[in-house]
């Protein structure tokens, strides 16, 4: 767990530092993930402790959104005033994005021959 924590934090720290040093418009943790991927590709295997810790973190990913989400309380007045526009935009855009993304995926997959092994019945 300690080794996994060190690895995750070191990658994030390196990512955040690089973003600031190079002035690239990519968020630090994203660059950190790229660095982690490079590290794993070089090592050619995932350390067991990192595997366990990552699984635990990602299994509860939605928990991590709660503290900032409770901030809805601070923006209540704005949300109320613009409720129709914002909620319509959120629902409409999310539905449209899911539909467009999945249809383009399947369409291009079919166009390029596809991978039948990955297709499973629902």
């Amino acid at each position: 767990m300690i080794e996994a924590g060190i690895l995750l934090l070191l990658c994030q720290l390196a990512g955040e530092s690089l973003v600031r040093a190079l002035g690239v418009p990519v968020p630090g943790p994203v660059l950190g993930a790229v660095l982690m991927l490079a590290f794993l590709a070089i090592r050619r295997r995932v350390p067991e402790t990192l595997d366990k810790t990552s699984r635990e973190l990602l299994a509860n990913f939605s928990l991590l959104f709660i503290p900032a989400g409770v901030g809805i309380i601070v923006h209540w007045a704005r949300l109320e005033a613009e409720a129709v526009a914002l909620i319509a935009a959120l629902i409409g855009s999310t539905a449209l994005t899911i539909a467009v993304t999945s249809l383009v995926f399947v369409w291009v997959d079919r166009l390029t021959g596809g991978t039948p092994g990955a297709r499973q019945p629902s």
């Binding site: 968020p27 950190g32 991927l37 959104f65 709660i66 959120l90 629902i91 855009s93 467009v100 993304t101």
Partner: protein
């Protein structure tokens, strides 16, 4: 109130321990509620947790800053968890490599649709300028979306709320919507949910199917990268 109870309340209010515990308990209740109701998509654990916590803050008259002083320890883990996305990405590399072309095409289409349709609908219905900047990166995982909003002069904490609502909406509508579209490819289904509704959608995808969850995680990671590059470009233009 007795002096002891008073002292207890002062301690719980001022100490991070109380609100940190409350956050974990609220999430746990949300998960139990969803399990008890058979894992239905329209019962979302995050939505339940947020409603419980907001109610608690309002009833006790606690300012958000006091709450966040405790809950920030959970919030902090968003960074390491984003880095941890590299692990399933590496482990599923063979699957990912075989699906590179449809993924890149779907990523571009999805990232552009997510940003432009949110901006378009909100603008057409008369949303204010700060709201528009804050809603643009709504489909991206929270730390990244907040970073984008901050760089463009939006309100990062408002973006956080947009991101949360988008995640809940995606987790709730994905299954019925994808069924209605007749899509059976778990890679496409998961990928779309990850692109549109980040970590909350990914958590939902993992509940439905492992392959869908993996591709949702990849979609979330790729869209974080794509939107982080796309939105500032769009803004300049």
């Amino acid at each position: 109130m007795s002096p002891q109870l008073d002292a207890l309340w002062v301690y719980l209010q001022a100490n991070p321990l109380g609100w940190l515990t409350a956050t974990l308990i609220a999430y746990w209740i949300g998960r139990r509620a969803q399990q008890a109701l058979g894992g239905r998509p329209y019962i979302n654990p995050v939505a339940i947790a947020v409603i419980l916590l907001v109610t608690l803050l309002v009833v006790t008259g606690t300012p958000y800053q006091t709450y966040f002083a405790g809950a920030q320890f959970v919030h902090f883990l968003l960074g390491p968890a984003t880095v941890a996305l590299a692990v399933p990405l590496y482990q599923n590399w063979p699957q990912v490599r075989r699906s590179v072309i449809p993924m890149v095409a779907a990523l571009l289409a999805g990232a552009i649709t997510a940003v432009t349709s949110a901006l378009g609908i909100a603008w057409a219905l008369g949303a204010s300028a700060p709201s528009l900047v804050s809603i643009a990166p709504k489909s991206v995982t929270m730390p990244v979306a907040m970073g984008i909003a901050e760089k463009l002069g939006g309100i990062p904490s408002l973006t956080a709320v947009m991101v949360l609502l988008t995640g809940i909406i995606g987790a709730v509508i994905a299954t019925p919507l994808l069924n209605a579209l007749g899509l059976k490819d778990w890679r496409a289904r998961g990928f779309a949910v990850g692109i549109a509704s980040h970590g909350i959608g990914t958590a939902r995808a993992f509940q439905v199917n492992d392959l869908a969850g993996t591709f949702a995680g990849i979609g979330m990671a790729l869209n974080a990268l794509a939107t982080a590059i796309l939105v500032p470009l769009l803004w300049q233009w």
